[in-house]
Subunit: 124 residues, 2 copies
């Protein structure tokens, strides 16, 4: 099974690019964490936990770990004793912005959700 140089060694279900993307991002939470890092200025564990959807602690912790393993998110300590981290998207993580926008536009048109314009006024 061919991998591009920047993919992690990982067992994928198939050679299909959609299936592979869903292997990483196909759940109800991962893309919301990426949304908060990308658009909503949430960078600490506590900020991410206070999102509108309120991800459970264990889930958030596990997803951040997975996102770091996949090279979509990185973190730096911003405080010691106790150590606290600031989470940021990597370039690979930021490259998901188009997908986020598409999901938003579709949910706005078909499910009556809010419309958010990155950099513009927040209507989320």
């Amino acid at each position: 099974m061919a991998h591009s140089p920047n993919s992690n060694a990982q067992d994928f279900r198939s050679a299909c690019s959609i299936a592979r993307t869903l292997d990483l991002l196909g759940d109800k939470w991962t893309l919301l964490i990426i949304r908060d890092l990308m658009w909503h200025g949430k960078h600490t564990f506590q900020q991410l936990q206070e999102s509108a959807e309120g991800p459970p602690t264990n889930l958030l912790s596990g997803r951040l770990k997975k996102l770091m393993e996949q090279g979509l998110v990185k973190r730096e300590p911003y405080q010691e004793r106790p150590v606290r981290y600031r989470y940021e998207l990597t370039d690979k993580g930021r490259s998901l912005e188009g997908i986020l926008k598409d999901l938003m536009v579709w949910g706005h048109e078909h499910l009556g959700g809010g419309f958010y314009e990155p950099g513009g006024s927040k209507t989320l």
Copy 2:
């Protein structure tokens, strides 16, 4: 919570359009079923089950039911005794094509998956 006229009555986690879309499509299988209906000429239960990823019977059955309830998929009987159905995307289901393409492009660029050109040669 405001809904557009064509949305089903449903409890969503939040007003965020991305969260709502993930409430419907945020799993590892639903968008693969939509992919097969959209691009790969798979329209019977058996054809859908024979996809590269081989969805388990119960899972496929449950997802098709949910997709019909949400108005993304419709079915017509093509045979009686025993009755067999042909599954098709509705217009609402077809409106997901842009999201499928984006997921494919991202998985191709970042995870080494195949590139498929709808209407062109299959490299999936």
